[in-house]
Symmetry: C2
Subunit: 259 residues, 2 copies
DNA sequence: ACGAAATAGCGTACGTCATACACTATTTCG
DNA sequence: CGAAATAGTGTATGACGTACGCTATTTCGT
């Protein structure tokens, strides 16, 4: 067991270095015919097209025309590779400013770009990687959020908490969206089966009422849209921004109306 | 491939029925010495103690003193079992009213109970199960949220969107918390390694400043607390509730200040 | 220029996983 | 009482991550 632990730790350390270290070519030995970036890109392509379940070391190697074990010359283990894949995918679209200098629209753009990212690479949500393997591009995303709030007169701590608040919301809502809205015909049938069950269950009168009122689009409508929960996301986003705005007012106007 | 698809669909349907159907004993055949509830409970115990990675059909069967394949008499596949585990774990603590009838404190209690649930069973976040396999107890949780908002004069659609907004936030923040705050000593070392990298990276001045200011507790402090991100959660929760409150004001007071 | 050192990729092998399938023993209904 | 249905067992299969030893290649110190 202690051997396993030691190994796990070494792989963790190696994973962090893979994300943050410099990619220097070794001086001696044959020239690599395979790069970390190629591997990560192949992995992303597979995960995008066929889901995380289809992402095996074998599948990646085959796609690249190398043997499975060759990958391990560039990556300590699959978890570390996933971490690199995540950071690579995030890096494909770093946050773009909305253009104006208004924190509210900038934050909204920031949130929507994040939302889109999760929908472009649905496996990002499922990939379970320890937080210590966070990569620089993910930090860059947080940094961008902090930058947006930099001119508002909030303390650093407040800024960080607000960014994490918003990031948490985006992440959670994207998870809901992706869990629910796999519009493959396979999930379709069982989904309507579930709706039938709920619709006949007397324990959930309010939920049922909303079902009947079409608050959830009927599955056949939802299946036609690429982003069926986008409206719900926008709603929550506006609530979140309202909450942030209220907090900023409260912190910058020291109104004398105390207890 | 079409054979696999057909099978996947059948398993999906069976999974939904497992969650929602009635558990009637078959009339003929030997008496079962094993129940679905036992299996799910054993699975929960393993996942709680050793994580989702240690949750194998073999491990569950061994713990119960049966063979691996015996489980498949009660469960179509592992995904469906996970769905039952999730619903069982959620059912262990159904939402409890805060006592007063104020939507704000009731919703806060609701959110905190959800947060606690995720921390009591961290694997709930990792368990990837299709949305169509949502169980009745999870719906009960949403229903409880709707009930809290029932007296506020909002439309059904608004109520649902608010509950999903809050649920999304709780889920996302819990994910952040659990991804980051595995306080096992194994993750510890690589985590501080990451912090070192960030601390020396000129690309993230704002993030670095907050690191230096101790906005993230130093890892050694965080490791001592059972819920190190609880404060951040409460902060975001209050912002979310403020945002909801603002929306309710806007919808119930039809102020004439239009465009 | 040359041997030592280091590395890239390959081939094989192992243990673990979910799960298909055939079998036996048990219970109940017609 | 026999036919039908079911609970649990035993064995087998194919996919997975990855440890280990090998060969071929490149570069450094001499």
């Amino acid at each position: 067991m202690s051997e396993t632990d030691r190994h796990g730790r070494d792989d963790h350390r190696a994973g962090v270095e893979l994300l943050w270290g410099s990619e220097e070519r070794a001086s001696r030995g044959p020239k690599p015919g395979l790069t970390l970036h190629q591997i990560a890109s192949a992995g992303i392509a597979i995960a995008d097209a066929e889901g995380l379940g289809a992402l095996s070391m074998r599948a990646i190697a085959e796609r690249l025309g190398f043997t499975t074990m060759s990958l391990y010359r560039h990556v300590p283990d699959k978890t570390a590779l996933l971490a690199v894949m995540i950071d690579t995918a995030i890096g494909e679209s770093l946050p773009i400013s909305a253009g104006d200098r208004l924190w509210r629209s900038e934050l909204a753009a920031w949130a929507w770009q994040n939302w889109d990212l999760f929908h472009r690479h649905p496996w990002l949500m499922q990939a379970e990687v320890p937080g210590a393997m966070t990569g620089p591009r993910q930090i860059a995303w947080i940094e961008a959020g902090l930058e947006i709030l930099a001119g508002t007169g909030l303390t650093g701590g407040d800024m960080m908490e607000i960014v994490l608040f918003l990031y948490g919301y985006v992440h959670g809502m994207a998870h809901l969206s992706l869990t629910w809205m796999r519009h493959d015909p396979l999930a379709w049938e069982s989904s309507s089966l579930l709706m039938q069950h709920i619709a006949h269950d007397p324990r959930f009168p309010l939920f049922r009422a909303n079902l009947a009122a079409g608050v959830f689009d009927e599955p056949n409508d939802a299946a036609t849209s690429a982003d069926p929960m986008g409206e719900g996301f926008e709603f929550g986003l506006q609530r979140a921004l309202d909450g942030i705005a209220a907090y900023m007012r409260q912190r910058t106007d020291p109104t004398p109306g105390g207890p």
